[in-house]
């Protein structure tokens, strides 16, 4: 489920559990870039942000490395830190910008808060992700594609706590127009400790969580270790473990149609492994908004062509169908559908983009 419930620590405390990250050029204004991080899967009506957590969006300029197969991430970083008061039910929010400015706002106010070149929102919204979770799990357990024509959306009618940041990218970010984006939750205090981090969707769950195909670390619950890593500077200690797990699981998906569409390279790696380990969203702010452009930049790299879209990730792309098709047949075969093609409600093209929270009856219907 994208990054919902992605490891023991996240399960123990959903207030730190990042469910998704999105990055897209603003549909109504190309000068702006929109970054969104959602937390708290299955948020009931009383859910609130923690007053002990920093909700962080990290952005770095990125380019395609000379080898054409990997990203070169610049060291310059722009950090947007969101923190919240302990008041309830309305919380006072604070967004610290990379230029030192601070934008204050109150949670769940539709217009959010604004400052020079920035607009922010935080509050409960409809979860824009959709997936037939049980059939995804069954596919892994039975090693056979288990989806039905009409699936059952595990997230139907569910809500999350959303944080939306709309920025004039040329003013607030360094470099560009291509950026790498990561979301993190950190414990506040003198020494911030990283609790979770998310870049790409479905890395920790669909791609990393299954243990049985991994002959190197069959018993290792790898996700909390992975969560603690700096996405822009992966430590060497566990890189081999991540690589082994991804290679094993990606090979499993590739074999679901009894064909090899992703032959391993000379180093014994799946061609997607290194790109996925670069676990950040890559968005090109100079390209127009697109609803279905996740991973197009990476696919262009694999095909040796110039990318045509903004990449990044829009709220309602049918990510599960896209990923499964990519993993199973490299997009060369029939589309692999999980039978769930839309969220309960579409997101909006205007701020704050995410649909209002579902009422309890919606979840029950």
């Amino acid at each position: 489920m994208s990054d919902h419930i992605s490891g023991p620590r996240a399960i123990a405390d959903p207030v730190i559990d990042i469910t998704d990250v999105y990055a897209f050029p603003c549909p109504e204004s190309p000068r702006h870039l929109v970054l969104i991080m959602n937390v708290f899967p299955y948020a009931g009506p009383s859910a609130l942000f923690s007053d002990a957590v920093i909700y962080r969006l990290r952005v770095r300029p990125v380019s395609i490395a000379p080898d054409g197969r990997t990203f070169a991430v610049a060291a310059d970083e722009s950090i947007f830190d969101f923190t919240f008061s302990g008041s309830q039910p309305v919380q006072e929010g604070r967004c610290a910008l990379p230029n030192g400015d601070v934008v204050t706002f109150r949670t769940s106010e539709e217009s959010g808060g604004s400052g020079r070149a920035v607009q922010v929102f935080a509050g409960q919204r409809s979860d824009p992700f959709f997936i037939d979770g049980p059939m995804t799990e069954r596919t892994i357990a039975t090693r056979q594609v288990a989806f039905k024509e009409v699936g059952s959306d595990r997230l139907y009618g569910k809500n999350v706590l959303g944080i939306v940041l709309r920025i004039e990218w040329a003013t607030l970010l360094k470099g560009g127009p291509m950026f790498a984006v990561v979301a993190e939750t950190l414990s506040a205090g003198k020494r911030a400790v990283r609790l979770e981090r998310v870049g790409r969707p479905e890395i920790k769950n669909i791609s990393l969580s299954a243990k049985m195909f991994d002959t190197v670390n069959r018993d290792l619950e790898i996700r909390d270790i992975y969560n603690e890593e700096d996405a822009f500077n992966l430590s060497k200690h566990y890189a081999g473990a991540y690589r082994a797990r991804l290679n094993a699981n990606l090979a499993f998906y590739d074999g679901l149609d009894d064909k090899v569409d992703w032959p391993f390279d000379n180093h014994g790696n799946h061609p997607l492994t290194e790109l996925l380990l670069a676990d950040f969203l890559v968005v090109d702010a100079s390209k127009p908004f697109s609803e279905t452009s996740y991973f197009e930049i990476e696919q262009a790299m694999l095909e040796g062509r110039t990318h045509a879209t903004c990449g990044g990730r829009w709220l309602n792309q049918d990510l599960v169908d896209f990923l499964l098709t990519l993993y199973v047949n490299a997009g060369k075969g029939p589309r692999i559908r999980d039978g769930v093609d839309a969220p309960i409600v579409w997101s909006s093209k205007v701020f704050p983009y995410m649909a209002p929270p579902n009422r309890r009856e919606a979840a029950q219907s």
């Binding site: 207030v15 708290f40 299955y42 009931g44 007053d51």
Partner: protein, 336 residues
């Protein structure tokens, strides 16, 4: 040490626990939730019951777990969930049988032993519990494994070891939820209270209460310590609010006893009546779980030594802890 670290405000944490439960409960009631979701919901509801002192929550968790085993009897997660709710209601042998079955199905030995260690501890089989808990802590020195050792040492009155492990476990805590830390403070507070060191007990109960203001047991024990230290008004005020809001009769019983001690007979009688009828209800539905507390009540404010002796005997049969033996001895003495 843990005070240097930021934790989520206790009221927000409890609202978020409610939010998790509220989101999952409709799915479970509609019968469309997975085994993991149902087991997870039982766990969350039990945690809320533990924090706010709500017996209705334990009942609901037990119901979910029983239905889970009925619907998925060959799933280890179902049996593990039921083992936990059964242990919560002091049905220790049934709980151990569930853990054994879960392990035979697919529950890994490490997890099964963690469940067994908790049950052995509740049964007063401290040595067996220690072997398992110590082994787990040596294998992985996580907060959870070290905190479990704190509880065991504290219950055995091993003050130095408990304090040492408390420091160690605090160092390992990486989360921001205040619940695990408040529960740890509470266990250490109980240890000091049992050792007669009331000021230390108060410090720990206050810490637990500050972290989670609606933590009922922490408040209840804080009131007990306050009463012992002569701060009776404070204790009464704390207990009035607890006794009025909780469906656990312990607070009404405690309040009745303190009010009687200070000569407030009428109000004491009211709370005593309420506690007596609630204990009778609970003994009818969950005899093993409430025998000890009900026996304490009938020995003190309840004023019925016959009933107290019968329940103290039942409790000593369920678990052979030093507290159970001491309760039985007091009940026998009261009868004589």
């Amino acid at each position: 040490m843990i005070d240097e670290r930021p934790l989520t405000d206790g009221t927000i944490a409890l609202l978020n626990l409610d939010a998790q439960i509220d989101a999952l409960e409709p799915e479970v009631r509609r019968g469309r939730a997975s085994v993991e979701t149902r087991a997870g919901l039982a766990e969350l509801i039990s945690l809320r019951g533990l924090i706010v002192g709500r017996i209705a929550d334990y009942d609901r968790a037990e119901e979910i777990a029983e239905h889970l085993v009925r619907d998925a009897p060959m799933d280890a997660s179902s049996l593990r969930a039921r083992a936990r709710t059964r242990a919560g209601f002091h049905r220790f042998n049934d709980a151990l049988a569930d853990v054994d079955r879960a392990e035979r199905l697919s529950l890994d030995t490490e997890t099964a032993n963690g469940e067994r260690a908790a049950i052995f501890q509740a049964l007063g089989r401290y040595d067996e519990s220690y072997v398992l808990r110590d082994e787990a802590a040596k294998r992985q020195g996580s907060f959870e494994n070290l905190a479990a050792l704190v509880g065991l040492h504290a219950e055995r009155g091993e003050i130095e070891a408990a304090e040492h492990q408390y420091e160690q476990s605090c160092c390992r805590y990486r989360g921001v939820s205040p619940f695990p830390v408040a529960l740890l403070d509470f266990q250490l507070g109980l240890m000091w209270m049992n050792a007669g060191q009331l000021n230390d007990a108060r410090r720990l109960f206050e810490a637990a209460w500050r972290r989670v203001p609606l933590y009922a047991q922490a408040q209840g024990h804080l009131a007990e310590v306050e009463a012992e230290l002569g701060e009776v008004d404070c204790a009464i005020s704390r207990l009035r609010s607890l006794a009025a809001s909780s469906d656990d009769p312990d607070y009404a019983a405690q309040l009745a006893r303190i009010l009687e001690d200070v000569g407030h007979e009428d109000e004491s009688r009211r709370w005593r009546r309420l506690a007596a009828s609630r204990y009778d209800e609970l003994i009818a539905s969950h005899p093993e779980a409430f025998a000890d507390h009900a026996a304490e009540f009938w020995l003190a404010a309840g004023g019925d030594p016959d009933k107290a002796l019968r329940l103290a005997k039942m409790n000593a049969e369920v678990r052979n802890t030093s507290h159970a033996r001491s309760l039985l001895a007091r009940a026998v003495a009261a009868k004589a």
